[in-house]
Symmetry: C2
Subunit: 384 residues, 2 copies
């Protein structure tokens, strides 16, 4: 059965102190219904993605909060898989439609992170790492720094190679009026920014953001016929791996990403070169470089050199443009919303709605959403 994405809305990402989690969810749901031109009565179920509201905001059981906000009694599901919660919610929604359990559903992701002290938020995020990593005092910058150091040493690169990820993604953020950061930055600025966990600097790292995003998915042929904007879900696959870095086979490959990508490309019957736009999980600069390799766009070890060419930057004219939204780095990273926004950005690109950052002749898009340091990965491929 063909499932389509037929609507998308995202709130601004950033420090949104004037809106609560419920208000962000309300804005995203109201916005996406308007964007798709449908009524809430046409929604059969909702897949909701959120990581931290229980730990930080005393908010579990959000499905029934959403029922209250919307005034509905439909099935509502919350998924949590750390920073991959959004991709997982989308994956489950797609399969729910494939099962015929619903015809039209919403996928909604939301997170409120900036109302708390940095210690509270950092501590809450570390619940997605293993007990031994928590006990060792590691943070997520620390975990990705271990990966980055290993990668740079193994393949003979320096922190300068990493810096290009932030430069590219901030340039894209400057073209996205919903992005957390809209300023252009230089390689020098990245290298001179405060060190968080060597070799990773502030400008190698995605921010703590608030925000919500929502999508409409449908298998309803009547509805699809009426929609101006629609893209098909060609595949969505997920895989898992040990939560602790010390239990993995490799430090410079995220095995879960490799497995999900191979399955997704096989199901979509596409080659890597077919993908025109990709939204990758650049929680830290090293993560985008590993993703390009693990997804099969670049060979293992060449990413450090390839990123310096900036061939994946908007306007380069090359066949694959990466993170036109600004990625997690510049668009922001309200954890539960991120995976939903990634697919929303592909929807905009494939429908020709991406305005100043519109990539020409887009046919296929790929989203890559990662939980923790690679314990969960979701790879989704869309097409027109």
């Amino acid at each position: 059965m063909k499932i389509y994405v037929t609507g998308y809305y995202t709130t601004r990402f950033g420090e949104i102190w004037e809106q609560s989690l419920s208000e962000l969810i309300d804005e995203a749901i109201t916005g996406v219904l308007k964007n798709a031109g449908i009524d809430k009565k046409q929604i059969d179920a909702i897949f909701f993605s959120n990581m931290l509201a229980g730990v930080l905001g005393n908010n579990l059981h959000t499905p029934s909060k959403i029922a209250e906000i919307m005034g509905v009694n439909i099935p509502i599901f919350r998924s949590e898989a750390a920073c991959a919660s959004g991709g997982i919610a989308f994956h489950l929604a797609n399969n729910y439609l494939q099962a015929g359990a619903a015809k039209t559903v919403l996928v909604v992701g939301a997170e409120k992170m900036t109302d708390y002290s940095p210690e509270e938020t950092t501590g809450a995020l570390m619940t997605a790492a293993s007990g031994e990593e928590q006990a060792a005092g590691l943070t997520f910058p620390g975990l990705y720094a271990i990966i980055a150091n290993y990668y740079l040493q193994k393949y003979g690169y320096t922190e300068e190679n990493l810096a290009y990820v932030g430069v590219k993604n901030h340039f894209h953020g400057s073209l996205n009026d919903k992005a957390h950061f809209r300023n252009i930055i230089t390689v020098n600025q990245v290298l001179k920014s405060a060190c968080i966990a060597a070799p990773l600097k502030v400008l190698d790292s995605s921010p703590i953001s608030d925000g919500a995003a929502a999508l409409v998915l449908t298998s309803d042929k009547k509805m699809i016929g009426k929609m101006k904007n629609k893209v098909t879900i060609l595949s969505t696959k997920t895989a898992s791996d040990a939560i602790s870095l010390s239990k993995r086979k490799n430090l410079d490959t995220l095995l879960a990403v490799k497995i999900a990508a191979e399955q997704a490309f096989r199901e979509a019957k596409l080659a890597r070169r077919d993908i025109n736009v990709a939204e990758l999980h650049d929680c830290f600069s090293i993560a985008e470089i590993l993703a390009m390799e693990d997804l099969g766009f670049w060979k293992k070890g060449e990413g450090g050199a390839r990123i310096k060419e900036l061939s994946t930057q908007f306007g380069s004219g090359s066949p694959l443009i990466v993170n036109t939204s600004g990625g997690l780095k510049a668009a922001g990273h309200p954890v539960g919303a991120t995976g939903v926004k990634q697919i929303g950005e592909l929807f905009l690109q494939l429908c020709g709605q991406a305005e100043k950052r519109q990539v020409k002749n887009c046919r296929y898009g790929l989203a890559h959403n990662v939980g923790g340091s690679g314990g969960t990965a979701v790879v989704t491929i869309l097409g027109i």
Copy 2:
């Protein structure tokens, strides 16, 4: 497509201080694979249910912890819908199989609740209520006491009517060697037990428990052919309602239960009288009485009188026996495991494996799992 439950295992429920959450999960997974006689390589995906590990134990992103425990890289999903998390995980697993995304999956539920102070656990549980209810200082006993007072006054009953639920379910718990409480109690003991939130006493209330439970679900005809014990999933439906009691239309009806039950009976093509065994969500005595009415087994308002007949007690010879496991009251209520154990108990009954509490001539079973004060409900019907 026909989906079967082909294996079940539950740890003991209770104060299990000698096992961590991971160890409980490990025991449940090892146990269910052995029970079904299959290898972990035959498992395509896992649906995991847990409510509180993030809030109480710094444990989010449990899917990748399970990947580490089992040494697998398969899709793993965590569901959270307060005390309905287990029913929701089962519902999503069934639809994942219906979609053809997997052939054989595990549904695993686990919760660790007794390692914390009563204030910590009670506070964590209240994250499943609305902000206004939290701010008012309400607890779940308090919320269900509001419902109980309304019900008793409206239909002219007293707290004595409520007491029979605990009496019946403790009798069933005495027949289940995995139950948290195995002692028989009397109506007088219930009435004389400490008052928690009037009219609800300690012996009207389910306990805080640790425990884990797991099921095997499969659509694989080869595997089904080899299985001695198997039951079919005839329907699993879920509905939602406003999280706040003050936003509901009725106080003596859980609308989400009514909706899910009507859909489930319609899909299963069964009448109420066809059900032989039911596992109902008796988090408090009043909840089982409301459930019997909202599910359509008893007329609205007659539950207070009907429960005194003890017709739903094992050995009564009547056609519907309720909560043979002991229910949440006596079997215990490790939140994430509860909805999984309910379906497991039906599996045992329908397969003739329920030993001392085996109901004769079981053909159809129903499980009723509720989140919060009724914001989420899942109704599942199984048959042989």
